[in-house]
Amino acid sequence: MKKLTLLYLSLLVGVITHAQDHSIHQKETDTLVTHLDEITVVGRRKLSNYRQEKTLSSIDEYLEKSNRVTMIKRGNYAWEPTLNNMASDRLSVTIDGMQIFGACTDKMDPITSYVDVSNLEKVTIASGQEGTENANAIGGGIDLKLPESKYYNTGLKSSVDLGYETNGNYKTTGADLVYSGNRLYISGDGIYRKSDNYDAGGNQEINYSQFKKYNISLQAGYKLSDHDNIDATFIYDKATDIGYPALPMDVSLAKATIGAIAYTHRSESTFVKNWETKLYFNTITHIMDDSKRPDVPIRMDMPGWSDTYGLYSKIKAKTQKHQLSFNLNAHYNRSLAEMTMYPNDPNENIMFMYTWPDIRTYYTSIYAKDQFYISTKEKLSFTARLGYQTNKIKKETGLESLQIFYPQISDSKSRILTSFSANYTLKHKKTDFSVGLGYGERAPSVSEGYGFFLFNSFDNYDYIGNPTLKNEKSAEVNFKTNYNHKNFKIGIEASYFHIYDYIIGQNDDSLSPMTIGANGVRVYNSLQYASIFNTFLNASYTLNKTLSLNTSVGYHYGKGSDHNNLPLISPISYLAEVNYSLKSFNAALQVNGNTNQGNHSVFYGEDQTAAFAILNLNLGNTFFIKDNKLILKYGIENILDTHYSTYADWNNIPRQGRNFYINTSYVIQ
């Protein structure tokens, strides 16, 4: 560790002295806009504004910067994104339009954990029914966009990244290499991350919070003609020795292989501007075990597998007033998870069950979107999606085990899923305004439909899936307005979801829990309805070119028809920051907090989380060394070493205490 610190110091000194002579000759092309629904990963090589303080931050840290996204944490790795206070079951999370489903029955491997920031160009976050471009969803869509092949003929370009954080002795090493020719584009990158246990505020070590992961991605594109090109992507992501301090089990292996091949036809002169057809597959292995825990009531292994094969064909077309897009997509997924328990009496047979009894999902759908530009100021947009989904229980044992609870069910169930939205936008010089309506449906997730004794350590209940669940349906209204005056900008956005047949686990006292020490069993069922409301107020003031202020406050509400609060609904959240930025230097001081969680759900096993506020300082420099560029990002997170946890921290696991970090990227052009 000393060596590394020394290395950084010498690098820093050397670079600063060297860099003085060089004028800045390249304009930064940051396009990241804080409060837009689309946030863009600017790439590790560019000095971005305060939204990406760390060039080497994980996707999780990165997503957390978005207004509407909060991350559920079960440890220091693989956080689960929620959008509009809705978690993965209600979202469509895709990698460049590709469907991919976690293989863990306990949501320990959200999709976002199987890619790395280094793989991505941007993340598109769309709220509610606007986020249904790739699948039916209720809360919205998160699409992790991979970079497109660029035929710039710039030749070879490479960069090296190093990162170190004191809290958890967290090291990151990455490298990437890009070749861009006239017809051929090849890029490859690799990143390795390793962290020990982190410390919460007050130097409290959080045991089982370590992780280790590497990610390799390869991308190649070939231009067949001026209008046609073919692309191939391959990502291999492997994490090992991942601790989950908030859970009774850890993960010894989480591995994903993602592959895709796409053919794109582009044309500016015809009605159809862009036609992309992609074939893809991904396969995930997730091995959960408790071999590192000294005291457990019973030893168990819980491996899971998820394989998805799919294709989509997207067309973008344009007329003078209309911008149309169509997406025809289909996928097939196989989800299998099992549990083996080893009795304390070695003479007894091992105990076994399928927790996901080999569920096959077949999904086909069609999506259309029309953006109608009524005038230069007004726009109307419509989306519609029609999907057909069939679930099949492949394992006879799986069907028979679920028939213990639902004697009447058969091995398959089909559903039709629809979604519509309409949005009106009005833009003036100083103000803009948009209002939208939406209706959408979703099918239950594999766990909600077919899970078998899935233990949830959050409320300490075993969950049983329910194959007879109705589709969940959401009616949604959203509203957004912004006002600019000189250097001052204020914006309000709000969305309200009225969700019919809201799927949630409900107590069944007649059932006996399987997990030793569990409070009981909950069976997924439908509430008549639930209401979720989110609103944000954003304001920013730009004093001059270099100094700006920015604040954001969010209010959230979630209640079921039974008058109980919904679980995992954020209390009032706020953020305030001061940014100072020059062309080659930036600094941001940030306060970030939640109020006391008064809306916690006692009924669903939540306790109240106390208010907190933390202070962060982020700094960044860019230096040019001949043609090459060095980017430094450094700062202190949680400066005051506050001991805190948020409402989204599983079992109130405390978050990181004070952390000094430094990220460096060296770009060789």
């Binding site: 009531p297 328990m341 105990m351 085990s401 213990i404 006996s512 829990p513 399987m514 030793i516």
Partner: protein, 281 residues
Amino acid sequence: MKLKYIVPVLLLALFTSCSSDDDNDIPPVNEVEDLIKVKDITNDTHTIELYTKSGKFYTGHNDISIRIMDNSDKKYVESATISWNPMMQMETMSHSCPKSEVSKVTGKNTVYNGTIVYQMTGMNGSGWSLKLTYTIDNQEYEAEDTITVLQSDKQNVTTVTGSDDTRYILALIEPSTPKIAVNDITVGLYKMENMMMFPVVENYTIALDPRMPSMDNHSSPNNQDLAYDSTQQMYNGKLSLTMSGYWVLNLKLIDDKDTVLKGEDITDSHTQSSLYLEIEF
């Protein structure tokens, strides 16, 4: 190179064709297919073959098939009336056990079938003998020999004294191959009238509460208490097993007047009934 493969094939063909030349009859239908012989009991005139699925006798419920071969012409007898009597010889006394009648298996010419519930066994499976009395063409014969009855791993039969001071024997018949599902459960219930008589008890109820002791006495839903089936002369119910492993089937024996004769409800403090059977898979 290729000869290496051709030669054995040729030889095999030659050998099989030769052997089939010797057989000029149509091969007889094997009526004891899937069964394994446990023992032959012989007398001067006949050899009595005893078969079970496993080829052994175990404590608990045994499904036994019988063939009688005429020692003189080696042919199997097709019309016999058979009765049997298993006996346990103990140090101070001897007793029999619950048994069904022996009847001809429908659709078969030479096989007879019945069931015996061995409620216990001696050291190394010793102590039991089986006496067969059979009539062929009005002529009565007898054959007797000792048999080996092995101890089952799990308690699939139990002998208890009810609150009515009667000794009852309960034997698990089905599921013989349990699975993670709702299983059909069948239990035989017998009363020990005396050392020799173990008649089927009719119209009682057997309450069922399956538990996994290793999993903090986890139970399962949608079980169904066992009720008497007069045609089968057994008790049938439903047994839900949510996972594989070791299960204790906690039982309560309830008579036709709703009096609990044996067994208790399972609570946090009372984790196992005094009347139970076991399953492990």
